[in-house]
């Protein structure tokens, strides 16, 4: 029985797509009289099917080896494109995790979007989201993954732009699409090049191809860099990181997915591409560099944000930076574990703040406070999620970090420093958030905030339990087993004995600083110019957006204006100058009536006739 589910596991992503299709009668307004709710129920049901199907299939794969399902797609000249799906515990587990988070986020959405009129459209887009994510988890072909990433880009655009009547939403949706698109286009260049160099586009073919080191170093570097670009955009890494925090203008249930599994989808493709990066040390180093810059930079940015969702989205970027570092070091298993541990904890935090935003109608943390006693379940969820995403207790993230050190004892001091700093700053920033939101005096908007409704509380509690269970799952599923025997060098014992406690300590220090840090609401922006400068620098994301405005955006817009001017004055100007001026300008044309038009046609006909006549009479 279970085998049937395993054999049909390729259908798991299609449930979401089917759900999206089935919402069309509602979102197009055909079924207006019966309301939009049924569309949501259909989608939730579809996601449940997908979850059950994926769950059974993942259980069934345990006894089997991984295998591929290859579907020939089309063949044209020397281009032979096949789409492939990988059936393995990792891919099926990923698809199931996606289905699980989508399922919970969709139930959460029922509560969150209680009064939304376009509920069907929202659920349709969520279905599309789910299909693309599940597809990426299963995909074993770069081209298929690229297509699904683009589908994700489109559905992100539409989901962020869901409340399209608000100005901030409009720019956020545009930036999300275009930023990701920049990455995707460069990725497409890489795909075109890879395919031209004669490799098939399934990941296994790529791996085999890369093993033969087929291209010169310079080309390999360019290829590697172009392939990195796509995931940089998807995972909101520097320099394509700005979209994620802007995207927080969208509805929260989509943010839950975006900060947990959508960013992970980009990283997942990166992980699958890792064999190609081994071709070029520059590509690997770039991954590590970008990951480090983002991890530290984005962590620091979280400290000065006043938008609750943006704070957390920056911390998502920071964590994805660590994943980039792991891939750059060649530690793909660690990268997968990081994605897993992070996805669950982050989803929980986002559910928690979703409840806050709905019940207080604000995302501004300076307007929040004292919610702990009013929303205990939400506060608990935030605490568990926060602990789960830092090294404070033996959480999933801590165990993963420790496992990383076991697997890779030669990690440099700098690498350890990055982990410690990111952990410390994340703990500090989460503590700051917790104090501002849940502790202290109630504010105007929080005084009457009730606890979340049951539709939101149930997924939140479920996620809370799951987050607590992550460490258990890691041991239970044997995910922390060493892949190879590490030699007990002094270096490694030092690593293992000193660093994990150091990580825990850094978490505690972060919390400690967070607790004693003076937090003012109205006076949050310091009067001291030096502090104020630092605050602004972090709050405005190191002014990267302004830098873009005066560089990339300016360049594109100037080129565009230039070409329009060129069109009008040079091209048309030349045309007018070359004897046609009399026809195009002045009175002749303005008053040209149908009589004159016929005159032109006559001219053409006579001219043509004359040419044919000449052709006939001239001696051949």
């Amino acid at each position: 029985m279970a085998d049937i589910f395993l054999q049909t596991c390729w259908f798991v992503p299609f449930y979401g797509a089917l759900g999206a299709l089935l919402t069309l009668p509602w979102s197009s307004g055909l079924l207006r009289p019966i309301g939009q709710r049924p569309a949501a129920y259909i989608n939730i049901l579809m996601t449940l099917f997908s979850l059950i199907h994926g769950g059974i299939a993942s259980a069934a794969i345990a006894g089997h080896d991984r295998y591929q399902i290859v579907v020939p797609w089309f063949q044209a000249a020397d281009l032979d494109v096949s789409l492939a799906i990988e059936v393995s515990s990792v891919s099926l587990g990923g698809a199931t995790l996606v289905a699980l988070l989508c399922f919970l986020a969709q139930i959460f959405g029922l509560g969150y979007l209680e009064k939304e009129v376009s509920l069907a459209r929202f659920y349709g887009l969520m279905g599309l989201f789910e299909a693309a994510l599940g597809g990426i988890a299963l995909s074993d072909s770069l081209l298929l993954s690229y297509g699904l990433l683009e589908m994700l880009t489109l559905s992100t655009y539409l989901l962020v732009g869901f409340w399209y009547a608000q100005p901030l939403v409009v720019t956020a949706a545009r930036d999300a699409f275009l930023t990701k698109r920049v990455g995707d286009i460069i990725l497409l260049m890489g795909i075109v090049a890879l395919s031209s160099y004669g490799t098939g586009l399934t990941f296994s073919e790529l791996e085999a191809w890369a093993a033969t080191s087929p291209v010169p170093d310079g080309v390999a570097t360019l290829l590697g860099l172009s392939l990195i670009a796509g995931p940089i955009g998807k995972c909101a890494q520097f320099p394509l990181h700005l979209w994620l925090d802007e995207a927080m203008e969208g509805p929260n249930p989509a943010s839950i997915l975006r900060n947990s599994v959508v960013v992970a989808a980009g990283a997942y493709v990166l992980i699958r591409l890792q064999p190609v990066f081994t071709l070029s040390p520059v590509a690997s180093d770039t991954l590590i560099l970008i990951g480090t810059i983002t991890a530290i930079g984005a962590s620091l940015m979280t400290l000065a944000q006043i938008d609750i969702k943006r704070t957390l989205s920056h911390s998502t970027s920071a964590f994805m930076g660590l994943v980039f570092v792991a891939v750059g070091l060649g530690q793909v298993d660690i990268a997968l574990l990081l994605l897993f541990a992070h996805a669950i904890a982050k989803a929980l935090i986002f559910m928690s703040i979703g409840g806050i935003i709905l019940n207080t109608n604000t995302q501004n943390i300076t307007e929040l406070g004292g919610l702990g006693s009013r929303m205990p379940v939400t506060a608990l969820a935030f605490l568990v999620g926060g602990a789960g995403s830092t090294c404070l207790l033996p959480s999933g993230v801590f165990l993963t970090f420790r496992h990383w050190l076991e697997e890779f004892p030669q990690m440099s001091i700098a690498g350890v420093a990055v982990l410690v700093i990111v952990n410390l700053v994340t703990a500090l920033s989460l503590t700051r958030l917790f104090r501002l939101v849940f502790l202290g005096e109630p504010q105007m908007k929080t005084r009457r905030a009730p606890e979340v409704n049951w539709l939101m509380a149930v997924p939140m509690l479920t996620m809370t339990i799951l987050t607590i269970l992550v460490p258990v799952a890691l041991y239970r599923w044997d995910l922390l087993a060493l892949s190879h025997e590490t030699s007990p060098a002094t270096h490694s014992t030092m690593m293992l004995q000193v660093v994990p406690p150091l990580l825990l300590l850094s978490g505690l220090v972060g919390v400690g600083i967070g607790l004693i840090l003076p937090l003012l609401r109205t006076g949050a922006r310091s009067m001291n110019p030096a502090i104020r400068f630092c605050q602004d620098l972090l709050a405005y994301d190191f002014y990267v957006e302004r830098i873009y405005k005066v560089t990339v955006v300016w360049a594109v817009m100037s080129l565009s204006r230039l070409s329009v001017l060129f069109d009008r004055y040079v091209v048309d100007g030349l045309v007018n100058a070359t004897g046609l001026a009399t026809l195009f300008s002045g009175q002749a044309l303005r008053y040209s009536s149908s009589g004159q038009s016929q005159f032109y046609v006559l001219t053409i006909l006579v001219g043509t006739g004359l040419l044919v006549f000449l052709a006939a009479t001239l001696p051949f």
């Binding site: 281009l79 009547a165 286009i185 160099y197 329009v564 195009f584 046609v601």
Partner: protein
Amino acid sequence: MLSALIFIPLTIAALIGLVPERFTANWLRSAMLVVASVLFGLTVVIAWQFDPSNPGFQWVEQRTWLEILGVSYSLGVDGLSLPLLVLNGFLTLVAIGCTSTTLDRPRFYYSMMLLLNAGVVGAFVAQDLILFFLFYELELIPLYFLIAIWGGSQRSYAATKFLLYTAISGVAILASFLGIVWLTDAPSFSYTPGLGSSLALGTQVILLSTLLVGLAIKIPIFPFHTWLPDAHVEASTPVSVLLAGVLLKLGTYGLLRFGVGLFPQAWLEIAPWLATLAAVSALYGAFAAISQQDMKKMVAYSSIAHMGYILLAAAAGTELSLLGAEAQMIAHGLISALLFLLVGIVAKKTGTRDLNVLRGLLNPERGLPMVGSLIILGVMASSGLPGMMGFIAEFMVFRGCFLVYPVQTLACIVGTGLTAVYFLLMINRVFFGRLPDRFDHLPPVQWFETLPAFVIAGLLIVYGLQPALFLDWSKAQVATIVPGLVLQQDVLDSTLLHDALVSQSPVRPSPI
């Protein structure tokens, strides 16, 4: 059969004038829908009976005509022209379907429509150079009237500009045809692949350049493009649909059929320059589109950009790139038709196409949500979103050109990225935001207005997911053009070419 496709519309076009006044425009439209459906049905029959594995001409008709001039009436359809023929039949049906039911001078209008249809069909199926030229010119006259009579406020200017440009284009093409036949002492004007190869290279290049100027005006390629935005802005929706969907394809079809086909040797000589021109055209069109304030103008400039990819593909001249060019013609035909159709609906309902005025049309209650959703789909297809036909075509073009012209190909890929930029600007301005009060009472969109858009959108997705459905038509034929290119070149012998391909270095040096 092919003659029927030409002469049925010609006859009806002549007879329409006899229809009495009491039959309204609405009645005429229904009648013409039947006619267009029959014509489309005929092309479908031809496509059905078409043998895709046979690379040669099928449905051949040969009659002597003007023997003294060496001109013959010979028709035939092959894998290159068949998809375009079907596209033309389909889009004519769509264009008549989206014509206003309260049109002025409907008899003249429909007779021009049919004349246009006949001219385009004739040009696609003509196997004689002069016959092609005659149909090419024939198509120009009805289009001129369609723009000049039923166009916008500046229609005279646009129509005359169009007429002059295209007339020059026709003369250039004719000159090149006459030149090649006279100089090679060919017995007739019938189409013979590789005809120009016997000439001296310099002569070939001159003749080919003349031909290319003619075709570049039609396609259009920078710097011969400025007639197109004006023509589109002034033309009514159905005319824009045909202009972008089919008529531009006459130019690209000529590029593959006559440019590559008649002058393979000279083609190789100037191909690097053409590739660079293609990249410039693609980027130029895209940059110019970003600053446009008129929805139609934006789509028109995007056409210029997308036509650049076809020139690039033709310049690269690999089997894959040529097949990609064919696919891009069909894809662009459908996508631009879809966009013009929908922009037409927006303009009709709101009374403007100005990006500074339109806002918030996605509003589910009072806006145009369905049109908005379809436009989003259309622009995504245009910007090469996988899962739709545009992506397949572009991917084939880029993949086919990359090894030959890496720099130009990458520039064109940047061009697809820019497509997303300008179209997203349009979506954001027109459909997002708050619906202003002045658009509070938009007339409702009828189902038959969006029906063609749904059909096209469906086709884009079906072909995007199953590209083999349309690629199979052209595969065999396209494969024969390329060897013609490769075999007849003296510059590189085949082993050299093979080595070059294997070592993945550019086959031909690019000019930049």
